[in-house]
Amino acid sequence: MTPDLLLFFSLGAIAVATAVGMLASRNAVYSTLLLVLNFVTVAVMYLALNAAFIAMVQVTVYAGAIMVLFMFVVMLLGGEQLPPTSRMRWQIPLAGVLGLLLAAEALYAIFSLRASPVDRPEVAVDFGSPATVGLYLYQNYLVPVEIASILLLVAMLGAIVLTRVERRQAR
């Protein structure tokens, strides 16, 4: 086994283990922390797959900002644990069977079709570096960048409006 495959399989094992741990953990705080670990592992994999800029965005935006927001809401609502109920117990085995079916279909599709034109592509040294991606982004996708900024503004306003306390009713 080459060092590259060894790196890939160890990273993949960590990613799958943290994802399973997130699903199995009864405490939402542990779920959040395991998901952060999962995102950082995937970021390392991006780095190894010649996507340095996306890896840094993944660490700062996903593992940093988004998961801190999640942790904040988990702590704010005190929603760490829900009382166990016996309702809809049949959902869990059914979900497992359906998930296994979906995984089998996806893996069959991936390994039966030729996914890439070349198996071992030779990529340029600066492929996926911040300078290259930035140049490509602003040369070809300027309008989508502006639309994304409007989307973020609307989402910010939406979050403020949704969580605003109605003061008129209190009076």
Binding site: L107, S116, G128
Partner: protein, 101 residues
């Protein structure tokens, strides 16, 4: 890292299925939401793998936009969960059945 693209796609599919199972079996709305993030992330991994296989930066740019949309989605989604918690005092998705006929 010199691994076949199929292996990365297989890992992405496995992570996606784990996210689907999380949405189906968990009752805590926050964990359901985190599973949705896991699914988005696995799709990003597939995009990165294809970007390298086809030597095209388009895949990486698409991941950039996906992360932007995910950030907006998380802001609005968490605001919705906070608003629901305020009115129902629970984030159990089984309790949100007011629209059931």
């Amino acid at each position: 890292m010199n691994v076949p693209t199929e292996y990365v796609l297989a890992l992405s599919a496995i992570l996606f299925v784990l996210g689907v199972i999380g949405v189906l079996i968990r009752r805590n709305a926050l964990v359901v939401f985190m599973s949705v993030e896991l699914m988005l992330n696995s799709a990003n991994l597939a995009f990165i793998a294809f970007a390298r296989a086809y030597q095209s930066l388009g895949g990486q740019v698409f991941v950039f936009f996906t992360i932007t949309v995910a950030a907006a989605e998380v802001a609005v989604g968490l605001a919705l969960i906070v608003a629901i918690f305020r009115s129902k005092h629970s984030i159990d998705v089984d309790q949100m059945s007011s629209l059931k006929g």
